[in-house]
């Protein structure tokens, strides 16, 4: 993957290169995640699902992608 082909973001604690210009929806699609089951926190702000399409991920953004798992 070449420098100019990606931007650096932090997702779930790991630095990753992702294609530039991705919306949140695009990112989830690119990561093959079901938007209906994932909650996205962008730079510490929780995003409403209906904004996933409009918000574009920028260089150095920090994202947390969470869902429900088994717990007591």
């Amino acid at each position: 993957m070449t420098e100019n082909a990606t931007i650096e973001v932090r997702i779930n604690g790991d630095d990753r290169g992702i294609p530039p210009g991705l919306s949140v929806s695009g990112l989830l699609e690119w990561l093959d995640l079901n938007p209906g089951l994932v909650v996205v926190e962008l730079n510490r702000e929780i995003l409403d699902r209906d904004r996933y399409g409009e918000i574009v991920i920028a260089e150095k953004d920090t994202l947390e992608l969470v869902h429900f798992v088994g717990g007591g």
Binding site: I11, N12, G13, D14, L31, L33, L37, V38, V39, E41, I46, L47, D48, R49, E64, L65, V66, H67, F68, V69, G70, G71, G72
Partner: protein, 257 residues
């Protein structure tokens, strides 16, 4: 004969709430939960595993139509963290119910009642239906009720200990003094622990490990379902007094010469 069991505006048939952690596989989890008769199940909020090495989300296995999902804030050690996890859970769009849990110590997993109270104040204001996990401390329990928690959930003994109700006096007193439902949460180890708990007069029990790590979780799930019904019925039936002296159960008259 028993009044319906209601939390906030919702009625439940079962007085058992179960966790979904620590099962050896999802098939067993679902079967055990169904055997337990639980209508409300707790889930945790965690990062998606982008490498797909760990198991997928719980919603692939539990239908929110079948079970009321109760997200917890397990693993949070501050009010701030708990609030963050609570908001993430609600943003998932399934529920505004919450099992609030703020741990004060990593080794014992005992709750930080002070931080729990702080978090409860804010989350109740934000409209969460807060079911607060707490210590068996009457004073903290009274405060959580005053703040508007829909249920107060004192522990029977530490999470995962299986020691049962170590201090029935405190549990009984909390039940006597509060109006909101009291759900004993954590510490139950086997069926009789659940039965004893309901006999104290509390409204319900929340458990996870006792079912999940039993040799046969499905059988233990059913055992818990029965034990909780038994304990509740026995409480309502009004037990005989216990006394150190014996009293015959057969007539003492009418004996032969």
């Amino acid at each position: 004969m028993d009044a319906p069991f209601q939390i906030a505006d919702r009625e439940f048939t079962s007085r058992l709430i179960v966790g979904t952690g620590k099962y050896k596989d999802n098939r067993t989890m679902v079967d055990a939960i169904r055997a337990s008769g639980a209508e409300m199940v707790t889930v945790a909020v965690r990062r998606v595993d982008l490498d797909r090495t760990k198991e997928e989300g719980i919603l692939h296995h539990l239908d929110p139509e079948e079970f009321l999902l109760l997200p917890n804030t397990a693993g949070c050690y501050t009010a701030e963290d708990a609030i963050r996890y609570a908001r993430l859970a609600r943003a998932a769009g399934f529920t505004d119910w919450l099992k609030l849990e703020v741990i004060g110590d990593e080794k014992t997993l005992l709750p930080d009642t002070q931080a729990t109270i702080e978090a409860a104040r804010i989350l109740v204001d934000e409209g969460f239906k807060v079911m607060a996990y707490t210590n068996d401390d009457l004073i903290a329990a009274l405060r959580l009720e005053d703040l508007g928690c829909v249920a107060v959930m004192p522990l029977a003994s530490p999470i995962g200990s299986g020691l049962g109700v170590v201090n029935p006096y405190y549990i009984r007193e909390i039940k006597r003094r509060l109006e909101v439902p009291i759900i004993v949460d954590a510490g139950v180890g086997t069926a009789s622990d659940a039965c004893v708990t309901l006999e104290q007069g509390v409204d319900g029990v929340l458990m996870n490990t006792a079912i999940a790590v039993a040799d046969d979780p499905v059988a233990m799930g059913e055992a818990m379902r029965l034990a909780i019904q038994a304990g509740r019925l026995a409480f309502l039936a009004g037990r005989m007094p216990s006394r150190e002296i014996a009293v015959p159960s057969s007539p003492t008259s009418g004996m032969l010469d």
